[in-house]
Amino acid sequence: MTFREIAFKNLFRHKVRNFLTLLGIITSVTVLYSILSFNKSFINNLNEELNKTGVHFMVVPAGCPHEVASLVLHGAVIPKFLQTDIEDKLKEKLDKQYDVLSPILVFQLPNQEKQRIDLIYGLEMDNVKNLKPWWKVIGKTPQKENEILIGFEIADHDKIKIGDKYKLNNKEYEVSGIIEKTTSKDDAFIYIPLKEAQTILAQKDGITAIGVKLKNAEALNDTIDRLSREIPGIQIVTINQILTSISTLAAGARVLSLSVVAIAILISTIGILNVILMTVFERTQEIGMMRAIGASRAHIFRIIIEESVILSTLGGLIGILLALLLSKGIEKFVKSFMPYVPQGDLVVFDLKLGILCFFFTVFLGLIAGLYPAFRATKISPIEAIKG
């Protein structure tokens, strides 16, 4: 028999009370792990997603950087167009020092037939391989003006096959290719030749952005400075700036969620302290008896602190397991509060994070047990035995 066995068995004396305390710890740890995992994955996935844009920077009409972020990641509508000569000016200023210079027209188009909004991404199809080198296209990229490329999500949802017809703004297009699943926002777009996009939108030469990939990435900052100075009416946003912009947007929601977790953890810690303290008061005579039969103050301290640590250890372990088991549901719930969420799993198994959460919980259990354990050592055996 060990001190830990005694402490463990003591917890069974008030099953309901200790179970409820355990439940509080489990809930706090589940939320703590989920939020931390979510935050960590959020930044990683966002980086990954932005890197998949295949450009170093976007040239957009001067305006709000959040709109640019939305454009790149959501395909949101920007109520402004770049001046028609910007593309030529850029080509001139960059003097062939670019790999990709791709005008883009992104907009939303109501689809009467399917009762939804289609996301349209107009681009010069010759640029597809440069812009999205990781794409695997089943079939081929559009070669003619009446051909389109469909993202995986739409093709999968509508059961679209190569050669099928797809109606945009009452005009039928032939699906020449379907993009294999990318697990990014790319899956949700319909890609059409730029000229067709401009026709649908009745914006001849209208573009919302120009994606640029330089030949020499090290010249990025100097090039952006120069272009911003020399071409008026444009805004240049690098992928890093977009990342910062979205992170700032998401930070508010994350701060709120972490505050909730902090309060939940504080309540759980007080819960442990309360339960262990009640246990000490209820067992005054037993503690007195143990002192009388030879237990030192250190022995009593150990038994009480072990009870607290066992509770927090169990709560920590079960909480982390539960977070992983319920990851999909938790993710869906948390996503509903966030202004933007990148693709991919966000609550995932992370050994380092799991260990961190676990030891943090055990540490809190230790802290919560200190006062009751200290109180227990102060119990006078004579007073206790006298009752």
């Binding site: 028999m1 060990t2 001190f3 005694i6 068995k9 003591n10 069974f12 004396r13 005579q285 037993e286 008896m289 143990m290 002192r291 009388a292 039969i293 030879g294 237990a295 030192s296 103050r297 022995h299 055996p381 004579i382 035995i385 006298k386 009752g387």
Partner: protein
């Protein structure tokens, strides 16, 4: 050979403005292997005396010698060690831990002492057999009768092979039949060489001891 020597033991409690002299110049000795009953009416100081003998309390003045060593000069750690290795306590209310079974309750002092005397299962079974609770060793306290619970408490007091047993009203919660059985058990321990000091207000049971120390108002009136 003298095991315990008590010299001019006085214990004064101060409760607000009131001063209570629980023990007043008490002196006596107890030899190895003696069976001593301390009797007296309620408030006579017998339990206070037992607590001081058991190193749970310190006297206001006077001294207790255990094996010729003055207890008053010992620090808390030394007193813990005395309680662990030399003394076995039996309480009126048993104080068994309800989540532990009989054998685990009995082994509890070994956990605190670290079992320096290397007490094994054979000795434990011998104690259980002597006390007639061998078959109940895996039972929880709530499954035992009052008499059985007190026997478990006696077994717990014996497990560290103490030099003497201090029993505080060990039969107060038992019927007369069980009370006599417990006293007979204590007598058998004395026959095995263990010194037993028992506090009781029951004169009939006290008469079963070899020696009676009668207290009244904190003073010894007969020994």
């Amino acid at each position: 050979m003298t095991l315990l020597k008590i010299e001019n033991l006085t214990k004064i409690y101060i409760r607000g403005a009131e001063t209570v002299k629980a023990l007043d110049s008490v002196s006596f000795s107890v030899n190895n292997g003696e069976f001593v009953a301390i009797t007296g009416p309620s408030g006579s100081g017998k339990t206070t005396l037992l607590h001081i003998l058991g190193c749970l309390d310190r006297p206001t003045s006077g001294e207790v010698y255990i094996d010729d060593k003055a207890v008053g000069k010992m620090n808390d750690k030394e007193l813990d060690n005395i309680r662990r290795l030399k003394i076995g306590f039996i309480f009126q209310q048993f104080y068994l831990l309800p989540e532990l079974n009989v054998i685990e309750n009995i082994k509890l002092p070994l956990l605190f002492s670290g079992n320096p005397k290397k007490i094994g299962e054979e000795y434990l079974n011998e104690i259980l057999d002597t006390l007639g609770i061998l078959k109940r060793k895996n039972h929880k306290p709530k499954e035992l009768s009052g008499g059985e619970m007190q026997r478990v408490a006696i077994a717990r007091a014996l497990v560290n092979k103490p030099e003497f047993i201090l029993a505080d009203e060990p039969t107060a919660n038992l019927d007369s039949e069980n009370s006599i059985k417990i006293f007979e058990l204590l007598k058998r321990l004395v026959e095995k060489g263990i010194t037993v000091i028992v506090v009781t207000h029951n004169n009939e049971l006290a008469s079963l001891a070899e020696r009676r120390i009668k207290l009244k108002d904190g003073r010894i009136i007969s020994t």
